[in-house]
């Protein structure tokens, strides 16, 4: 979504949290590759996967 089509929020919220976590926008579900892999690596290290 570009700046021209991006809706302007009318309700203000204080945004918190990591901006690079998994999220679905439109029909695409995205996550930062490196962070995602780091999480999987940690789970493997912990024997969870």
């Amino acid at each position: 979504m570009d700046a021209a089509t991006k809706p302007t929020p009318t309700f203000a919220l204080q945004q918190v949290g990591d901006p690079n976590v998994g999220v679905c926008e439109g029909d695409a579900c995205l996550v930062d590759d490196h962070r995602s892999q780091a999480l999987v690596n940690r789970q493997i290290d912990e024997g969870l996967v």
């Binding site: 809706p7 204080q14 918190v16 990591d18 976590v21 998994g22 679905c24 996967v49």
Partner: protein, 229 residues
Amino acid sequence: MHGVGVTVNETAVVVNEPVKVDIWSDVQCPWCYIGKRRFEAAIESSGIAVDIEYHSFELAPDTPVEYEGTPTQFLSERKELAMPQVEEMLTRVTDIATSLGLDYDYEHIHQTNTVKAHELLHYAKAHGRQLEMKERLLDAYFVKTEHVGRIEDLADIAASIGFDRDEVVSALESSEYLPAVKADMEVAMQYGIQGVPFFVIDNKYGVSGAQESETFANVLTQVLTERDA
């Protein structure tokens, strides 16, 4: 423990209201189910009482109910990505889901239109059982690979947790709860929500995406701290 039950001292009895949490989500959003589990873990670890309300967010409202293809094909077509690239993306999200005890079965998932599933969530809310229905629908789509787009299939899903099947069919065929779905989408626009899951906590904090449970717990604690200040 914060915000649960009653705090008693010598002069006063203070009952903390649960923290209101509004969550925009779609039934076929893999991060929404992951985010749900992480948020539940935050509630568990923090002990903070919450009042959760789910809201509708249609990620792909133009998807046909009878889409004939896999989610991999769907994403490949829509995003013009090579199939291996999509498969890699789904493998990543599936691995994270697995680590949380969610066994996504992308080989057999039915990609579909979710507007009727959203109507069913509003129907369940009207009957005081929205959270139960939300969990059932996410499990139906990602784990049990049931169809969550057709009215008859949704009625079966609702009946499986004790709803009146005929009443559900009637509500979905008449689109009784479609205005509620549209109203949720309108509020999402007013908040500037472009992706899900999206958590609005205490009408003040916006948390986008499937954050780690510690992040959710910190925000909930912050809300209570501000109340006590």
